[in-house]
Amino acid sequence: MNKKNIFLFGIVSLISIFLVACNGGSTEGAEKGSDSDEVKLGFILSLTGNFAFMGEGIKDGIELYFEENEVIDGKKVQLIFEDDAGDPQAALRKYEQLTLKQNVDIIGGGTIGSIAAALRDKVDAEKSVPMINVVGTGNTLSWDNRSDYVWRTSFSAWQYASTAGKFAAEEVGKSTVVVSSDYVAGHEIATDFIANFEEHGGNIEKIIWAPVGTSDFSSYLTQINEIKPDSVFMFIPGADGPRFVQQYNDFGLRDKYQLIEGSAMLNAPSTIKAVADAVVGGQMITNYFPELDNAVNNEFVEKFREKYGKEPDNYAVNGYDSAQLIVEAIKKAGSVEVDQIVKVLEEGISIDSPRGPIEIDPFTNNPIQNMYVIEGKKENDTISFELIKTYEKIQMPKEATNYKEY
């Protein structure tokens, strides 16, 4: 074999091994058979891989809630966590495992959109267990692909992006550059943002699609510097996001153009830990932030800090609320039968969330909730986020809006 071929063979083998490795995972707490004195809840989360920080937050939230609610209507709760490592195929395998071998009563999952979509199709086809979508923010899960068996406790892309578009146009300025990760969710967010930004009199100067895994954003930053917009709207989840924020700061753009962040990563503890001062002055749209002042949240933050020694993030609250919704639904239905649970959910359930009261909208299977705009501040060497505007009770339209898609 000649040397170059070996080299290329190396690359190929590497990539294939890497792909295979991505499908790996672990099984926790396997125990066969269903017990009528137990409620079995199976969660398929991304606990390793690129989205581990999301999966971990969700798991923290779920465990916190069930620590205080170990028993529902006299039945002991058994939690089973499975790792999908950010891979939809792995999530489907875990789904089989949980429904066939473990006989779980309710499924929770969907750390990222593609996994939520994959699980949704399976759940909708089999109709054997209801699913709580813990994050997966795709609009289509509320519109064209809405399933009676799949309920979301987090938020939809539309809720974030339409609020961000309105805020940017009304409160910041009429010209903006959109920087978005070049994948499904990025296009969805950009579509909703742009439509609402233009609706409120704004003008999109440029849309930059950054490939997922972009390590150096400097070319894009120099383009922004040429345009000199009022604001820059970014939607870059994952590890690329903090890197963008850091480079935005390094290249001196932070003080010139208002950064508006749309994937709720700017105030994440991991972001602040990684980029520190670069988040100061940045604004972010979110459905939750730990500094939010209400009785439920104050108590939640205190409990969370006590158990984990850190601040809760959006994902922790999404996990906590998913757990809360499951418990409320089971209590109201008085059973864990799938049809009973679905019936109860279709009547509409309200829960007291740390993010403020939320109501699960039976038309879109998505919560009606407040949206907050917050801004990074630095005082005495600590970075915190301050509320600058609240948009109350944002409800998704019942059908897909006829926007031009980007």
């Binding site: 590497l14 690129n50 070319s219 480079q247 290249f251 001196g252």
Partner: protein, 286 residues
């Protein structure tokens, strides 16, 4: 104009990081005929270890030196314990070094977790330099200078020193060098840990720019392999030219042809390999 300057500088910054990584890979291959796919893991380890030091209150420069030295020691252990056993067996080398990628990757994941981390820019270089109406971070300029410095060092080492002469001879015919009474094993080890050190240095320098996160070793490795293929195996000069080329193309490709910028890099690789199969500066026959 400043648009052009800043993008060139950005491209050079990225290119220099890739150069530090790719030159070690290339030299090790040239001399030892070892395809060390785990070279990217040295980059990863360098940045994570430096992060650990900085996070525990060490200053950046000390962390830079300590991380590089630690990775060199690890490189020595890996070379002596594992790689030296399978000289000449190319399939085993690939399997072993790919295995090492996953072992090292999982160890870093275990210790530092899956979140994006970043090393703060040292205070000394935290300023920005005004270029026309735009700004360019001083730290990036420093990275470019470091890249150029190491290229010069490699040139000096190769052409002006006794050891460099032995290494050059070794690239052509290792057995002959051995027959002349030089200790091949020591030369191998020395070159290997030197390469590991360069990769680690690249990792530390890249920490404040690219940060670190699981699987970043793959991104870096793929780019480094392309650079080595373009520049030619066994040649640090080729790695230098290849790295600068990739850096610049990456920077401008993102602006003018964003959807196919990665494709161009592969396109160039294909063209170079068709026209000159041994790469631009290839010293090893394919």
């Amino acid at each position: 104009m400043d648009f052009f300057i800043i993008n060139t500088l950005s491209g050079l910054t990225y290119g220099m990081l890739l150069f530090l990584m790719a030159s070690g890979l290339s030299i090790v291959f040239g001399l030892m005929r070892v395809i060390n796919l785990a070279h990217g893991s040295f980059y990863l380890l360098g940045s994570y270890i430096a992060y650990a030091f900085v996070h525990n209150g060490f200053n950046f420069w000390l962390a830079l030196i300590l991380a590089t030295v630690i990775v060199m020691v690890l490189g020595l252990i890996i070379e002596r314990l594992l790689i030296s056993r399978i000289h000449g067996n190319e399939t085993a080398q690939i399997l072993l070094t790919v295995g090492l990628i996953f072992v090292i990757g999982d160890i870093t994941l275990w210790i530092w977790g899956g979140n994006f981390l970043s090393i703060p820019v040292p205070d000394l270089l935290s300023a920005t330099i005004q270029v026309g109406e735009s700004q360019f971070p001083a730290y990036r300029l420093f990275v470019i200078l470091m890249g150029v410095f190491f290229a010069a060092l490699l040139w000096f080492f190769e052409n002006k020193t006794h050891v460099g002469m032995i290494v050059r001879a070794g690239v052509d015919d290792m057995e002959m060098v051995g027959a002349l009474g030089f200790n091949i094993k020591v030369i191998f080890s020395a070159v290997f840990i030197f390469g590991a050190g360069l990769a680690a240095l690249g990792g530390v320098l890249g920490g404040p720019i690219l940060g670190m996160y699981p699987l970043m070793e793959f991104e870096i490795l793929i780019n480094a392999l392309i650079i080595v293929l373009i520049g030619g195996l066994g040649s640090w000069k080729g790695a230098f030219i290849g790295a600068v080329l990739i850096g610049i193309i990456d920077a401008f490709g993102k602006i003018y042809i964003p959807s196919v910028s990665m494709l161009i890099i592969f396109g160039i690789m294909v063209i170079v390999l068709v026209i000159k199969p041994s790469g631009l500066f290839g010293e090893v026959e394919a």
